[in-house]
Structures are given as structure tokens and as C-alpha cells.
């Protein structure tokens, strides 16, 4: 019989007092995946294990996105010279508490993790020309003291609106708190018309923070170039479609758009970016 352990380890990482950075696939602006993929590539992080999906995802077939069949993943990477653990994962569809505890089990038992960061994008009604801001929510005074050393927005007040549910990152912070593991969730507002695509400016904001926090010494010019490229593409849309330009100008002047206008702006930008990519 084929055994399906929850965690399949490829090799045991050599780490001590490390930090776990995690991001969710299908995040707003693909921020979590974008940041994780960038760090994995730039730091040469090595995969060391993964969760089997069967306990956490329905597996009644496959979803198709951009013509390609997808499959849920929860992969762990490590970078021993930076003492970092990276987890790139789809958000589980069930058994959330078990999943989050398993993440922390792997983090503690295999990697001796002492702090955890999650990365997430949130919807913003601002224009893409507005500078990105990094918000942080901590799960303990100790973590808050760590974050105080950096230029972050930390004093957020928020309660889940009626009819909505807390994010999985908030759930993780709570589970980590119960286990006395300092943790923080990092959030960057993403312009709503960039949600299904990528927001390199948001990605840069998070990488910049990790670079400072862990002394990674990453040269960010490639991200600057990616931000410039995307801005140029959107500038071309604005030039070719006066209506789109008018909508974005409204947002830049802090004027809101109707739902119809917002949908049209998002659609035009998406279609154009897809066409020229």
C-alpha cells in the first residue's frame, strides 16, 4: 500500500534559530507567490519537503487556469546561509487548524524556527502610481518590538466585517500565538485592476523589508526594472484608451469610480497586459 504521510521530507535542512517566510498562491496580485519565487531564485533556496495535498484539498479533478491544469502545492525551501525557511503553498480548503499546526510543526522540529512572517496582498482602490505601503500585524509585543525598528505601518485597527471571515494569515498568527511563536503578517495594498496579474511594486516593497530585516544584500535593480516595465505598459493603455486614462486620473485625484467603471478599467488593463505579455 502506498503511504501518504502529511509531510514528505526530501532532506533535513541544517538551520538554527531560523525565520519562516510564507506566502499563499492565488494571492491578490500574486504577491505571496511573487515574493517567494523571487527569494527562492535570488537566494538559491533548496526544496526540502512538501505536504501531501490529500487531507487539505478536495481533489475531485483539476482547475484550469490560463489554459493549464493546476494542482495544489505546499512546498518548503531553505537557505542555510541566510537561516531562512520559505513556504509556498495553496491555501487549504479544509482542516485549516491541522494544516497551520503542521506548518509550525515542520518549522519548529525540522528548522528550529523562532519567528514567522506571512505575505499577503489586499485590495486597494488607489491608482498604481500611488507609492506602495507595507502594513504589519504582529501576534505579540515581542514581535511588535522587532517590527518597530522598520518603516512599516503597524497601528492598524480592523474587525472582520459581518458576513466575512478572517484571512488564513490571521488564523496562522493566532495558532503561532498559542504556541508562543512570534509571528507577523505583512500586507501590501494592491490596486484593484492589478489583482489577477502581478504587482512588481508591491513585490519590491516586501522584498525591501526582508532585505533589511535579514541583511540579505539583494540588489533590487531587477525589481525596479520590472516596476518600470509595467508602468510603461499601463501608460501605453492610457495613451491608446482615453477612457482608461480618465478612470486612472480620477483615482489619482482620489475620486472614486462606479462599479461599472471599475470593472471596465480592470478588464481593459487585464486584456491589454495579457495581450502584450
Amino acid at each position: 500500500m502506498r503511504d501518504i504521510p502529511a509531510f514528505k521530507i526530501i532532506k533535513k535542512p541544517e538551520l538554527q534559530g531560523s525565520s519562516l517566510l510564507m506566502g499563499w498562491n492565488e494571492d491578490a496580485g500574486n504577491l505571496g507567490t511573487g515574493v517567494l519565487n523571487y527569494l527562492i531564485r535570488r537566494l538559491g533556496a533548496e526544496e526540502f519537503g512538501e505536504f501531501e495535498p490529500v487531507d487539505f484539498f478536495p481533489l475531485g479533478g483539476v482547475a484550469v487556469e490560463d489554459d493549464v491544469a493546476q494542482f495544489p502545492e505546499s512546498k518548503f525551501f531553505y537557505c542555510s546561509n541566510r537561516n531562512l525557511v520559505l513556504l509556498r503553498s495553496n491555501a487549504p480548503r479544509s482542516e485549516w487548524h491541522k494544516f497551520l499546526n503542521l506548518v509550525l510543526d515542520v518549522a519548529e522540529f525540522y528548522c528550529y524556527v523562532t519567528e514567522v512572517y506571512t505575505i499577503g496582498g489586499m485590495v486597494s482602490l488607489s491608482a498604481h502610481t500611488t507609492p506602495r505601503e507595507l502594513f504589519a500585524i504582529s501576534n505579540s509585543p515581542r514581535m511588535k518590538r522587532v517590527l518597530n525598528q522598520y518603516d512599516l505601518s503597524r497601528e492598524m485597527d480592523y474587525e472582520t466585517p459581518l458576513g466575512q471571515r478572517p484571512t488564513l494569515s490571521s488564523f496562522l498568527l493566532w495558532v503561532a500565538q498559542k504556541r508562543s511563536i512570534p509571528a507577523a503578517s505583512l500586507w501590501v495594498p494592491i490596486p484593484f485592476y492589478l489583482l489577477p496579474t502581478e504587482d512588481p511594486a508591491a513585490c519590491r516593497k516586501v522584498i525591501e523589508f526582508f532585505d533589511k530585516r535579514f541583511g540579505l544584500g539583494i540588489e533590487l535593480s531587477d525589481l525596479d526594472e520590472a516596476v518600470k516595465r509595467q508602468n510603461e505598459k499601463i501608460a501605453r493603455v492610457r495613451f491608446n484608451f482615453p477612457e482608461v486614462d480618465a478612470y486612472i486620473r480620477n483615482l489619482e485625484s482620489n475620486l472614486s469610480l462606479s462599479q461599472e467603471e471599475s470593472e471596465k478599467l480592470a478588464r481593459e488593463i487585464q486584456e491589454y497586459l495579457k495581450r502584450i505579455d
Binding site: M1, R2, I4, P53, V54, D55, P58, L59, G60, G61, V62, A63, V64, E65, D66, D67, V68, A69, Q70, F71, P72, E73
Partner: protein, 303 residues
Amino acid sequence: MGIRLYKEPELENPVLVASWPGIGNIGIIAVDTFRAIVEAEEFGEIEPWDFFYPKRVVIKNGELRDLEFPISKFYFKRTSVKDLLFFIGEEQPADGGRAYAEGRKAYQMANLVLDVALKFGCQRVYTSGAAVAPIHHTMKPKVWAVPNTKRLIPELKKYENTILMSDIEGRGGQGNITGLNGLLLGVARKRGIDAVCMMGEIPVYLQGLPIPYPKASRAVLEVLSTALGIKIGLQQLDSFIERSEKEIERLYEKFPPEIKDQLDKLSHIAYTHPAEPGPITEEDKKKILEDIDKFFKRESKED
């Protein structure tokens, strides 16, 4: 719960062609026909008792003689062009009377199939199923192709009569493939094996009927034949197609005239883009599809 191999054939980088039953049995007919045409040899099976409830008991003189389970068998064929592995599952392992597999058992079965494929050095998998589409049964079905890696898209675009999800209006390249014909693609992706699901189109109004749709299986086999570079003589499917067409026409004649009028218009609808301007406007098209949808919802409630 395991695999029983009766022999271990020597194969060179074989391609696996696998299918389980689904709508119109399009995939399973295509794969089983292919298997029969090339006269592939059975060489193993997945032991069924942990996956399936028995399908038949044989009792003689008050004594139980046999208990039969749905079969899940492997076949192989060496050809001068490419070595082939086939997997044919008679049923999908599903709980609670559902037609499609999901959960732990489905995942285990997909992994067992790929264990065998990898054991023989397979690096490419094809599955097949049905694509429910707003087409008329007199039209030639297209084949929707979904790969499990972007890398395969240029190859798929070269095949005749084949479309990608992004060619379908309003889908934005997205969709779902239910059951094991889809899940196998995902599990293959996880295990680093290239895979493609080829789905033959079935008219939207035939999807709920318990009749096979071999015309779509033929379309799938035509594409598979090109993809594999193996000539497949499909004449033996033609008499099956003829019988099925007659059966469909007989049922079609029983539809109320006003519904038939609407369904007839499907012959003129282009749902892939770029849509050519035709005799049906976008508004007409929307209305026809809504009417058909309403009719079949009403019918299924009345059943």
C-alpha cells in the same frame, strides 16, 4: 491496496494513455478503441477491493462462486513509432454513489497509475474526457486540450480541430476537469510528468442522457493519432457512430418543436473566438443558450 503486474515488458519511454468513464463515455470509448485497434496486451491491474464496491455476485446451488469488481487494468504495445501503455478504469473510485472520484481514494488511484507509468520510464500522459459545449449533434465535435504545463501549449496549438480553454469565449482560459481524467493531470504535474487531457465535445443537451457519444471519441482519436504520430484506423468506430446518431435522432424527434427550433440554431453559433459574424447575433445566442438551459433544468426537475 496495490498493483499486480503479471509481466514486466521492456518498453522505451512509453506514452501512457489513460481513461475512466465520464459524460457520454467519450474518453473511455476513445482509449479502449485505441487499445483494441493496436491490440495492446494486458499486463497488470490495480487490486479493486479497497477502491470499489463489488458489481456482481455469482451464486450457484446456494454457494457463492464469484464476486466481481470493476476492473482497472494496464496494457502495453510496442510500435515502430512509439511504445504505448494504456490504463482503463471501468469505474471511478467514488463514495456515496457519486459518478466522479474525489478525495483520498482518487488521489491514491492516480498515484498508483503513475507509479506504473514511471516504472516503465513514461514521461508523457494523455487522458481523455468530455467537454460540454453549445453545439448541435450534427456538427463535428472539436477537441479541447488542457496541458499540465505551459510548455506544451505551442505543440497543442498545431493540432487540427483542437482548441484551448482561452479559445472559448468568456472563459478567460479557465475551467475545471472533474474526476480522475482531470486529477491525473494534476498528480502528474506534481510528479514532474507532462500530461494533456483531450476532451471531445458533446452537445449541451445530450450531457445528461445515458447514451454514449462516439463521434466525439473519434475526434479525440484523430488528434491523438497526430500527437503520437501513430496511424489509427478508425473505421471500426463508424458503425458505432452510425448507431448512436440514429438513437440521438430518435430522441431528438421527441423534443417539443419549440425546443427543437432553438436547438437547431446551435448549428449557427460560434462560441470560440474570434467569432465570425454569422446569422445569429450575440443577443440571440445568449437567449438560445438561456432557453436551452431553462428547458433542461425543468426537465431534470420533472424526472
